[in-house]
């Protein structure tokens, strides 16, 4: 395991941010997901040495976060969510300082800027960059110094759809070519699902499940369907009458059924009630469905 925490506990005044968190992150690209306030950023801040745990222990690459924090930051790069940047500095100046502080070269800094598509903005002041450009700059500084692990907190925040894809492709490329390991915290689960091998789900400061994405998906016995009908309210009532779970997504309903017999019952009831089906789509089990189920069980977010 490249990151491991044992009974990590953190209290901010009366608020318990982490409640005996036991996180395990193997080599490769790992995802760290959870609802708002679950404790993702606090965990990352503890790993970066910015926040001290109240009790428990955490190691990164086998190094203790309390006593060997400098060595961790030498081998691991952190990108915090919407990390503030020195607005008055130019892009290249910031990168020059960043490379100087992590013993990298200016050539590598320029290369990182090129990779993140900031080559033409090097002389621009950071405060004059768009939110998306700033996010690219944060990612560029995280690439410096050939780190063994890059920890990214919401790396695709503020990026346009093409930018998001580029970032995700870059992560996969770095993992393949340089064997760089990634720990990515994100709320956009479908995006994460495409690239991660391992996932840890956190809620209320605890890990509720973790494991290989393929194992998690195959362990889920439910089938997920997306139905667009002429009367969603009535359809919802029918589904609830059968004791099944559903939720609204746009003009459709997403239903989770254990077997196809459940679906048959719903469809026949719809027919009796003259509710017409416009479209039905088989979604299969997705990571976000597992996440919703896991977090919903704990009563934190809406049911399912």
């Amino acid at each position: 395991m490249i990151v491991e925490t044992v009974n990590l506990f953190k209290r901010f005044g009366d608020i318990v941010a982490l409640n005996n968190l036991n996180l395990h992150v193997p080599k490769g690209i790992s995802g760290f997901i959870g609802p708002n306030g679950a404790g993702k950023t606090t965990t990352i801040n503890i790993l970066a040495g910015l926040v001290k745990p109240t009790s428990g222990s955490a190691t990164v690459l086998g190094l203790d976060v309390l006593s060997e924090s400098i060595e961790i930051r030498r081998r691991v790069r952190f990108m915090q969510e919407l990390q503030p940047l020195p607005g008055d500095m130019t892009v290249i100046k910031f990168m020059r300082y960043a490379s100087m502080l992590c013993d990298s070269s200016i050539r590598e800094a320029v290369e990182a800027l090129k990779t993140m598509g900031l080559k033409n903005f090097m002389e621009r002041r950071i405060k004059n960059l768009s939110a998306g450009m700033m996010q690219r700059l944060r990612l560029a500084q995280a690439l410096l110094g050939n780190p063994e692990i890059i920890v990214l907190d919401e790396p695709t925040a503020n990026l346009d759809p093409i930018g998001r894809l580029e970032v995700l492709d870059k992560i996969v490329e770095l993992n393949k070519d340089m064997s760089t390991n990634f720990l990515i915290s994100s709320r956009i689960i479908p995006e994460l699902e495409k690239i991660v091998d391992w996932i840890s789900i956190i809620n209320d400061g605890k890990i509720i499940t973790e494991g290989k994405v393929s194992d998690l998906i195959s362990s889920d016995k439910y089938n997920v369907f997306k139905i667009m009908s002429s009367n969603n309210d009535l359809l919802r009532k029918i589904i609830n009458d059968y004791g099944l779970e559903c939720r609204v997504e746009g003009s459709s309903l997403i239903i989770r059924v254990k077997d196809h017999w459940d679906l048959y019952k719903i469809l026949s009831s719809m027919s009796k009630c003259r509710v017409f089906i416009y479209r039905i789509e088989v979604l299969g089990t997705r990571l976000d469905e597992i996440f919703r189920k896991m977090v919903g069980k704990n009563g934190d977010t809406e049911n399912f």
Partner: protein, 258 residues
């Protein structure tokens, strides 16, 4: 290996110096600070130049002190401004987390902020003394005033840094540091008005220069040194400054930057 380790520490602090200079200070602020301080000082010298005194060195010391006291007002504003910008603003905006994401020690970051702030402010204070020295000639008085300034500035910077570390709001830390330093400056005057002359003389930081002048001009300098309670003033200000500096480092090392 030990030598290499120390060399690395020095390199790290130098790197942070450059970063800190660009981040908090810059040529505009330095230029403005040096100009305002020199202008205050020179104005003060010109104003007092007509006073006739028989002892040319006493004139020099008197003028230097006048300028140094006048410049204290400017200095307090700058110290509070610099440390509220360098510490409170960086902590409240989260920018400090960006720098601490790199392999640098918190202790080194804070010490760099302190040393850079102290050195630049000190240069700004010493420069006008050199001007006045060039007008009146260089004398032992220059050492006295310089020493007093080094000590006073040490107290100001460590106090302001501690204050700005405690209060994360930029405006509140600036106003609070400014106000409390003025209170510290005015406290001896308040004690004088209440009639506590002895205590007022001991806690008056401005008495250091005058006390030293008396000591150096006295025949029995050691007795004068003890009589003037200069030793007590020195111990109080040096002790408080070192204590505040060490406390700041400890607090910053243990601080949660969430």
């Amino acid at each position: 290996m030990k030598y290499l380790g120390k060399w690395w520490v020095k390199m790290e602090i130098l790197k942070i110096f450059r970063l800190e200079y660009d981040n908090t200070w810059n040529s505009k602020i330095v230029g403005m600070f040096f100009s305002i301080l020199s202008a205050t000082y020179i104005y003060s010298l010109k104003r007092s130049a007509t006073i006739l005194m028989t002892d040319i060195y006493a004139i020099y010391l008197f003028e230097a002190l006048q300028g140094y006291m006048a410049s204290s007002i400017v200095l307090v504003v700058f110290v509070s401004y610099i440390f509220s910008k360098s510490i409170s603003r960086q902590i409240s905006s989260g920018l400090i987390k960006t720098w601490l994401g790199f392999p640098i020690k918190r202790k080194h970051l804070l010490i760099s902020k302190f040393v850079l702030g102290y050195t630049l402010l000190l240069i700004g204070e010493i420069m006008p003394i050199i001007y006045s020295g060039s007008i009146y000639g260089f004398h032992i008085g220059i050492l006295i005033v310089s020493f007093a300034i080094i000590l006073k500035l040490f107290f100001y910077t460590s106090y302001s840094m501690f204050f700005c570390l405690m209060i994360r709001d930029v405006l509140a830390s600036f106003a609070g540091s400014l106000l409390s330093l003025y209170i510290v400056e005015s406290f001896p005057i308040f004690l004088h008005t209440l009639g506590f002359e002895d205590i007022a003389n001991v806690v008056d930081i401005n008495n250091i220069a005058l006390g030293l002048y008396k000591v150096l001009n006295a025949k029995k300098w050691f007795e004068t040194f003890l009589e003037t309670n200069l030793w007590l003033t020195l111990i109080i200000y040096l002790g408080v400054s070192i204590l505040l500096l060490l406390l700041s480092i400890q607090i910053f090392r243990k601080m949660d930057l969430d």
